[in-house]
């Protein structure tokens, strides 16, 4: 009996917490229940941390060429060997052989030579966050090499290149969405707030932009970029090209919500209380659809990332020496490379995992965005 009362009390306590919780707290509670979305969020955070501190996590520079190790397959980190039993992590060295039949160069594991993997080793100097000079890398080997994902046909470490490439690939999503967001907010806001002819015009423009195939358009626009532009210039040009279509979705959301919220009673109340238009928009309207904006933004980031990857993959986006996942994948356009060096496909996995995580995250946020809905 006493137990029952105790339960009752807890339920009451919980209900009280529920009534008092702010909208954001409710969203967070609901979001936490969506396991896939939480997983997505964690993966995305890990990827961004890897990208931000790529100098620390990568054992080499993305441009360092290891002439003797061109097209080497990935080296597997092991903690068990037949002669030594369980031990600290190490990799085996490679020795080169010529295939007697095809005469193709191939790498064979040399089981007699081990390179122990050391952590927090001193290596090539780099700037952490572009600010602090340091030469500490998370891991490395004293002599010999460690290619977790193998090397490309020029002998560059793919693992390091993937991490450095993540900087462009992951940031272009954010920068592109930010630009689309500005466009979307301004244009959608104007459209929704003024209504009438302006609204009609904007809506028809969006209809139009949505109904044409984006890729041929992107390709043609990207082709018009001068090849001699610097990396930074190309980067922003590509971002803007991707945002040209990207803002439509956001503008739709902003307009739709503005139109609906304009008619709500709390807006009327605020107006009657003498609040200015600016105050109504920023204090009352914006916070009430901020959660929808976040969802929409999250779901448009992967499109930006894919757009950049596709353009760079085709050779129309970022160019060497810039490193992005799309640039890395340029090499696999050559089908013999796919056949003989499948580890060059590893950047694919990163793109897919990133896109999938963002979609899971966006889906979870969408469910959580309206915490009062059942």
């Amino acid at each position: 009996m006493g137990n029952y009362n105790f339960e009752e009390e807890r339920v009451e306590e919980f209900k009280e917490k529920l009534y008092l919780a702010s909208q954001w707290q409710l969203i967070w509670w609901k979001f936490k229940k969506h396991k896939l979305a939480v997983t997505g969020l964690i993966i995305i955070l890990i990827l961004y941390i890897l990208a931000i501190f790529c100098g620390f996590f990568a054992p080499y520079y993305p441009t360092t060429v290891f002439d003797e190790y061109t097209s080497a397959p990935p080296q597997i980190v092991r903690i068990y060997s037949r002669d030594g039993g369980l031990q600290r992590p190490f990799v085996y060295r490679y020795k080169k052989e010529r295939d007697p039949v095809t005469l193709r160069l191939r790498y064979v594991i040399n089981y007699s030579e081990k390179c122990p993997v050391r952590f927090f080793v001193k290596g090539k100097p780099y700037k952490l966050l572009g600010l602090f000079d340091t030469d500490i890398h998370l891991f490395g080997v004293d002599d010999g090499t460690i290619f977790l994902f193998g090397t490309d046909d020029m002998g560059r470490d793919i693992f390091s290149r993937v991490l450095y490439g993540a900087r462009i690939s992951l940031s272009i999503g954010l920068v592109g969405v930010f630009i689309s967001f500005l466009f979307g907010m301004i244009i959608g806001g104007i459209s929704g707030y003024f209504g009438g002819a302006i609204d009609n015009f904007v809506q028809r423009t969006i209809d139009f932009l949505i109904s044409i195939p984006t890729l041929p358009l992107w390709m043609a626009l990207a082709a018009a970029l001068p090849r001699e532009w610097s990396i930074i210039k190309t980067y922003f040009a590509i971002t803007i090209i991707l945002s040209l279509v990207g803002w439509c979705g956001l503008a739709r959301v902003v307009r739709g919500k503005l139109l609906a919220l304009r008619e709500e009673e709390f807006t009327l109340a605020a107006r009657l209380a003498g609040a200015s238009e600016f105050r109504i928009i920023t204090r009352h309207l914006l916070p009430s659809f901020a959660s929808y904006l976040i969802v929409s933004i999250t779901l448009s980031i992967p499109n930006m990332i894919l757009g950049e990857t596709a353009l760079s993959f085709l050779g129309l986006g970022m160019q060497e020496p810039a490193v992005s996942w799309g640039v890395l994948l340029q090499r696999v356009q050559n089908l013999t490379i796919v056949a003989h060096q499948p580890w060059q496909l590893i950047p694919c996995i990163f793109v897919i995992v990133t896109v999938l995580s963002f979609n899971f995250l966006g889906d979870g946020l969408r469910d959580a965005a309206d915490p009062y809905a059942r």
């Binding site: 109904s211 043609a220 596709a310 897919i352």
Partner: protein, 331 residues
């Protein structure tokens, strides 16, 4: 109905106009005009270009005129003579380069759309009628991965896996048929190769349609008329297909509008990866070489075709769903 079609057609014309302007701007974007590149290229290959030829080309394309007149000349040539300009890279009129390839692209895109529908509708129905069963969860998960899976990366992975089994999945024809004229054997050969492309391009669309189909059908199944019909003893199968499924398919028709652009985009990219004899590879080469008349024409034709597809889907939707015909149009 007729009134609806006419209204839609009137809306359609300004859209085509905007598409043509965008394509023209693309043609004009790179520095220099196409004629300079054309002459340069001819001279590089050792062909002598007489002043007379240059003058006549300038005249045909109105290159000595201001941009807006050039635009009208360009449009006039397209409408009256089907002349899209000249590809200096191929040294042929654009029309000859792209004709067959556009047809193949359209064919593959249509086939892909059919594939998505044929696969998505039954799976959607199954998922909705067997909600929360193992297969429902399975299809939901596969669908989710499918939506996120970029087609061209999937194509790369398929090429690699096929290679492990000694298969070659690239190209649209066997080697013997690439240059051969069209024949029944060539068509059959093409159908043997086309399925990889169709699955790869159609995957994300299929996944999206399954989700929509499942959601709308679930909504319909909860409605009271279903309960009434069931209470009156209508057999379950007849009940399902006679009303809820029919109603759930309607929203799918409206998805053609946004599926078509993404299918065409996907086709362009995937055909480059799989090296299909469609628009993708040519468009890529044209953009790489800044062969802008060719690139611009592709953008124009592909966009115009997509817009036409959307128009047809709008009309179809109005035809199957009278609620759209009366009233709510244009909102």
């Amino acid at each position: 109905m007729l009134e609806f079609i006419i209204r839609r057609l009137i809306l359609f014309i300004p859209l085509l106009f905007v598409v043509s302007v965008v394509s023209f701007v693309i043609i004009q974007l790179p520095p220099g005009d196409f004629l300079t590149s054309y002459i340069q290229q001819l001279r590089a290959t050792g062909t002598d270009v007489s002043e007379e030829t240059i003058q006549s080309l300038i005249k045909i394309y109105g290159l000595d005129q201001p941009a807006y007149i050039q635009y009208f000349t360009w449009i006039k040539n397209i409408i009256l003579r089907g002349d899209f300009g000249r590809s200096f890279q191929w040294n042929k009129p654009v029309k000859e380069v792209i004709g067959e390839r556009i047809a193949l692209t359209v064919f593959i895109s249509l086939l892909t759309m059919c594939f998505t529908w044929i696969v998505a509708i039954p799976i959607g129905i199954y998922s909705a009628t067997h909600q929360y069963t193992f297969f429902d969860y399975f299809f939901t998960f596969v669908g989710f991965v499918g939506i996120s899976m970029p087609g061209f990366l999937l194509a790369l992975i398929i090429i690699w896996i096929a290679h492990l089994y000694g298969l070659n999945v690239t190209g649209l024809f066997s080697e013997a048929f690439i240059e051969a004229p069209w024949s029944l054997a060539k068509v059959i050969d093409m159908l043997k190769h086309i399925w990889v492309a169709i699955i790869v391009i159609g995957l994300s669309g299929t996944a999206g349609l399954i989700r929509i189909m499942r959601a709308t059908l679930l909504d319909e199944l909860r409605k009271q008329y279903v309960i009434t019909a069931r209470a009156k003893g209508l057999p379950e199968r007849k009940l399902l297909f006679k009303y809820p499924v029919r109603l759930a398919i309607n929203p799918l028709i409206s998805t053609i509008g946004w599926m078509l652009p993404s299918v065409i985009s996907g086709e362009t990219l995937v055909s480059i990866v799989l090296n299909l004899q469609t628009t993708g590879p040519v468009l890529l080469r044209a953009t790489m070489q800044q062969d802008m008349y060719l690139a611009g024409s592709f953008v124009l034709i592909l966009s115009a075709l997509t817009l036409t597809g959307t128009l047809i889907s709008d009309i179809l939707l109005a035809w199957v769903d009278p609620r759209i015909r009366y009233g709510k149009v244009g909102e």
